[in-house]
Symmetry: C2
Subunit: 406 residues, 2 copies
């Protein structure tokens, strides 16, 4: 445990801590086949290649008239209508010199290779006339334009969005193999905590981290195992942590771990596994515990709600996403925006300010919640982004700053 | 119906269409009380004011020693420890001239108004000594810092995020009134459609819009009522639409409405209510139907998957969000980013290009999916944003463009 105590002596830069912790993350194993209707926000377990062309044949992208372009190229402008092809139907091979009435999405009859939009045609007495300007392949959506047979449709490790689900349906799959939902046990520490709905005695506060953390995990498609509030004695704490590790893939606690004197989690984790105490150059945050409990990864987040929010979002979230099998977009999307605030005081830790990004004329301006204290959860509720200020950074309004989108 | 036919003659700018359609959106009525654990992503039905101060009393933000600042101000630097206050416990009034051992989150004993961090104190033989530099109120989190009694905690019409749920828990609420989930009936039109998992006959394609649209609605916390594929005859279509309107708050169809000859939806909607056909200056997209079926709002989206995605996202989504009761953030967040592409051809409609925003050095660069055809659903699956190009706009790589974040 000497290495970690060296870490604890100084402050570790956020990126360094994240890289080291992430290097330790292992993807959960297993895969379960689920119908598409249950795959939203799940992570694809293995790459999906298409067994078909999409579209499966050349089809019309317009309501109009299909013809052989070679006829048009020789100067023919009037075509007898030899057939009618609706979407879902199959035409006969197109007789040379004739055109087919055709509708959006209908397959081109064999031989046809261009479509004239109905708005650009004059149909009368079973024939149709066109003007100039038709190009080969006009208004034809070629076979395999979207996806071709054998090509990669969706990569393994992709979180399935509406677009992916549409794409998987379009290649005919009723379901796909997804990774099991990561099971995350959460425990709250703090003798002062009371559950909402209960009366509040002097000295007590309501437990908010539990609700915030559960919702953040559910947003990531993970399964929350809520183990409640850690009891105020060593034996019970050890038993609860062991149970948590037994039932989950990873264990998160909020509060207490950095302290010691009033906390039994540190001792329990050390008894059941190993614990590294980090002091991160992060604000809000700083103390973070990382280790193993009965072989399962363990994160001890701080106790203040804004610190929980920031350390979870910046450190634990990418780790959990990797455990869940995600191979890209582990971290929040970063953009740049104009600062709608001044920040005159350079910090000694990298700061994550709770802000609100708003579209403004022809740019985006980010404003800050007035009170950035780590105890102020209202800042998190109000915000839609985090402004990242590196160590030593000051900001003048109008300057461009880094913004992480929530 | 003459007004709408005038609209159909030209192309209506996107912003104008959106403003007109949005002006017609009515919030659903009713409210249901739900425990916080079921309120993620739900919309708050009425404003919540706090019945308590958070924190409820001055407390310590550090492990350390609480004292009366007036003692320190008179030059006293050594204090006998007269008590010990753990988080959750209540101390006795602090005897003048003494200090209390105190822990993070513990309430200050009456009379104490500053805390010295333990790292800056030397404790020995039941007393503690401090150096210089303590300021009044140091390391004290004042009563009501996060929220004060009677203040607004969360506005009505807010979609409840993890931060909001934490905040609501912190003021002691076990649950809140939320608006009912908007019930959205979806129907697919197109004789060529087959459900995934079924064999594909010539002329047919798999139904993808149904899965994409369901997932997009679920992302918004809405309840999807999937009415399947519209039958190919007028009577059945009318019956299905009437059923959809009966069971839902709003009806969406994909495909067909702009066409007529092969489509029974238009006639059925007109028979059951009213229909406006819009030609929007939007690409992909353009044809959009909006109206009422048996008194319920009706949207007829295009059939091509990318067109469905864009018209849903740009037009229907804000409308549905307003119906769902959302009062802000109806639309996608817009940011600016550097174009990682050239777009030499000025369009006649406002284009929504499927792109991928990536953090890149000290900025964000947006790249485009190579094939922007409206039939290419792979572009939607691949992307994480839409690049908005106004009518007539061309782009050189490196230029700053408007980006809507998905």
């Amino acid at each position: 445990m000497s290495a970690m105590h060296k870490q604890a002596a100084g402050l570790t830069p956020v990126e360094e801590a994240l890289a080291r912790i992430l290097a330790d993350a292992r993807q959960i194993s297993g895969a379960e086949f689920r119908p598409l209707s249950e795959c939203r926000n799940r992570v694809l377990a293995s790459a999906v290649h298409s067994a078909i062309d999409v579209p499966p044949a050349d089809n019309s992208s317009m309501d109009g008239y299909a013809l052989r372009f070679e006829d048009y190229a020789t100067g023919q402008r009037r075509f007898v209508l030899s057939q009618r092809v609706a979407a879902g139907a199959v035409g006969l091979p197109l007789e040379p010199g004739t055109a087919a009435r055709i509708f959006t999405g209908a397959e081109l009859p064999a031989g046809a290779d261009a479509v004239v939009m109905q708005e650009e045609a004059r149909a009368q007495d079973g024939a149709v006339e066109f003007g100039e300007g038709l190009r080969p392949g006009a208004n034809v959506r070629p076979r395999g334009q979207d996806i071709s047979v054998g090509s990669l449709a969706v990569e393994a490790g992709t979180r399935l969005s509406a677009g992916h689900l549409g794409l998987l349906a379009s290649i005919g799959l009723p379901g796909v193999p997804v990774l099991p939902r990561l099971r995350v046990a959460i425990l709250s520490t703090g003798n002062e905590l009371v559950e909402p709905g209960q009366p509040l005695a002097p000295g007590q506060i309501y437990n908010s981290n539990r609700y915030m953390l559960s919702a953040m995990l559910e947003d990531l498609g993970m399964a929350v195992i809520d183990k409640g509030i850690v009891p105020d004695e060593p034996e019970g704490t050890r038993r609860l942590l062991a149970e948590a590790a037994e039932s989950a893939d990873v264990v998160l606690t909020t509060g207490g771990v950095s302290v010691g004197e009033e906390d039994h989690v540190k001792g329990a984790v050390e008894a059941l596994g190993e614990l590294q105490l980090w002091k991160l150059a992060i604000k809000p945050g700083k103390p973070l515990a990382y280790g193993r409990v009965a072989g399962k990864p363990f994160f001890g987040l701080p106790g203040n709600p804004s610190s929980v929010f920031v350390t979870f979002t910046v450190i634990a979230r990418p780790y959990l996403q990797r455990m869940q099998g995600l191979t890209q977009d582990l971290r929040l999307q970063e953009v740049q925006a104009e600062a709608g605030f001044d920040w005159p005081k350079a910090g000694k830790r990298q700061e994550y300010l709770r802000g609100r990004l708003e579209t403004h004329g022809d740019g985006a301006v980010v404003r800050l919640y007035p009170n950035q204290s780590s105890g102020v959860l209202a800042s998190v509720a109000w915000g839609n982004c985090l402004v990242v200020l590196p160590v030593g950074k000051t900001v003048n309004a109008g300057e461009v700053v880094r913004v992480l989108l929530l």
